[in-house]
């Protein structure tokens, strides 16, 4: 008994720092938001009574519905673009780059992370803007008279910016999945009569799916709640759900309603992610 309790104590001491971190940084803020979402709003304060009115308001609000749908739409587009573009890069990295150069390539891919997310997003404004790189370039080539105004401040530019920002998050998990594929499986596919393309379709792709699924979730979840890009690249004209939460929390100072929106959005994303994993569970069962 004594030795067991010592063991438990040892284990507790070992996990204490991450546990403390998780409680302080994740559990307490989440619980605060959850609590706020169930109480009433008063002027510049909150009234401590339990209520479900906030949620009723969220579900009845057409603006929430519109922004939630837009956020989902943008996240789906960004995820699709990111994963589709990341796959060839990851494939190249895994199958074409010689082993001794791989570390260098991974290093190069992570270079964009050396600058802050905010600056990377802002750079797209410089590229796409009214007097930006693309417009001045086209103008100096004589291809256009007036700057193109449709480059910035729309959903397309938000998608481009986010897809770029999250590219390494998609490349790395797919790369890891591809690296884990036993190369003799691909030879076996060829040996059993399939072309390179069909071998890719029947062997490489299904075995890379755990990486693709990870990439989808890693990109989808944060882009869904992105706040910076709609503000800067969307110019405030195309708010997403995070902007709505910010507005309720800070501008309108309705913390309970803001919290209810946040919790609702979180539940929707969780359900979608769960459904997505459920639909793809056959790819996750594979072990080598």
């Amino acid at each position: 008994m004594a030795s067991r309790s010592t063991e438990a104590g040892q284990g507790l001491r070992m996990i204490a720092p991450p546990l403390l971190y998780a409680v302080l940084m994740l559990a307490i803020p989440l619980l605060t938001i959850l609590t706020f979402s169930f109480i009433n709003d008063g002027y510049q304060t909150v009234i401590w009574e339990f209520t479900l009115e906030n949620y009723a308001e969220v579900w009845a609000d057409p603006i929430f519905r519109a922004l939630m749908l837009r956020s989902l739409g943008v996240a789906v587009l960004v995820t699709l673009a990111t994963v589709v573009l990341a796959f060839p890069v990851a494939y190249f990295l895994s199958f074409v780059v010689p082993p001794r150069r791989k570390a260098m390539w991974i290093f190069l891919i992570t270079i964009p992370f050396w600058t802050s997310y905010l600056i990377r997003v802002f750079l797209w404004k410089v590229i796409l803007g009214y007097n930006g790189v693309i417009n001045s370039g086209l103008k100096s080539l004589g291809l256009i008279e007036q700057p193109l105004s449709f480059l910035l401040y729309n959903t397309g530019s938000i998608v481009v910016t986010l897809a770029h920002a999250y590219a390494p998050f998609a490349i790395l998990p797919i790369y890891v999945a591809l690296e884990r594929i036993d190369r003799s499986l691909l030879e076996a596919g060829r040996d059993l009569g399939e072309s390179r393309l069909m071998t890719f379709w029947r062997v490489t792709l299904p075995l890379a799916m755990p990486g693709v699924l990870a990439a989808v979730l890693i990109v989808f979840i944060p882009t869904m709640g992105d706040y910076v890009t709609p503000t800067l690249i969307g110019g405030g004209k195309i708010p997403m759900v995070a902007n709505l939460i910010q507005k309720q929390m800070l501008a309108v100072d309705n913390k309970p309603l803001g919290s209810a929106i946040a919790v609702t959005a979180m539940v929707i994303v969780t359900l979608l992610a769960g459904l997505f994993l459920l639909l793809n569970r056959r790819f996750l069962r594979v072990r080598t």
Binding site: E187, R190, D191, L192, M198, V286
Partner: protein
Amino acid sequence: MTARNPSPAPVPKSGPARDEQGRPTPIGSRRAMIECRDVHKYYGDYHALRGIDLTIREAEFFSLLGPSGCGKTTLLRTIAGFEDISSGVVLIDGRDMAKVPANARPTNMVFQSYAIFPHLTVAQNVAFGLRRDPRSRAEKAAAVDEALAMVGLKGYGARAAHALSGGQRQRVALARALILKPKVLLLDEPLSALDRKMREQMQVELIKLQRQVGITFVLVTHDQEEALVMSDRIAVMFEGEIAQLSYPEELYSRPVSRRVADFIGMMNFMPVRILGETDAGVRVEVPGFGEFDIPAANVSRADPGDPGPSVGFRPEAVTILYRDAPAPHRETPGIIEEVVYYGDMTYYDVRLDGAERPVRISMRNVFGRDIQDLGTRTRVSWSPGSLILFR
């Protein structure tokens, strides 16, 4: 050492390489299935295959045997089409394979790692190569069941491939290849990942399977015992070249060089002084055996790295004489310096009088024959015909 004969395989009534009565035809009379003509392969500066010439015949169980790095796997992979050859010709069933990619060759491979697709079930693995087969779904399913039954995995179709044991994976790999009825089945060290008991069982099963399907099997192995047990013929390879291509019994009893002799089984080597050529062969003097003639047929090549000429003999090629039994040929006295008991066999290290180092002699443990003690004076019976001269 403990090579045993597999129990007789069921004899098919007809099929390739059999006559009207269902008897197998001699290997040498069968038509060629794989022909390699002066095949060279370079990896950059490294010369992996140095002029391979060989003919593997229909329904033959052929082994490529050699130490790691000798080029045996490279040769197998060039036949499969996974490696391009630098020069030379590879023909399969008379057809030049130069421009034929791996997926269009009439060969199938059992990989060393078995390469079972982990995302598919056993049945889906076996059916992998049947995608473009024109048969109906039901007919294909029946073919898969039949293939699984053939390798002893009846009823395993619905299992997940990643949950199989090593031996089961190998059977799936075999079924997956054989269901396509290839002209040649290539096996890349298929037994090396199995434990000893499983390996010996699979050796027997592979031989039976090969006799049953009548397909040419080409096996790559570094295990000389495995090659001797399983093969119709064996090519021994060193450093990208074929050192000797022959039947197992000839390879064992008549190795062309000291290196081949050393690689296949155990052989005692003794220094020799060559006195000259005679009508009977070569006159030699061997410390312990004295002066005698080795028949010309027993003269093999010494390799460049050898420490001069030597004579060699297998542990069973000479015998220890018991009590006052008369020697059938010649006899030499000696002293037993080591006894190693193996159950069915006993190995004795005997130092012949006048020899510098002991030689190893194996004796079958038959009923009524005692195990000799260490330090016993004994007599060894031998004949010049059981010795091979490497010069």
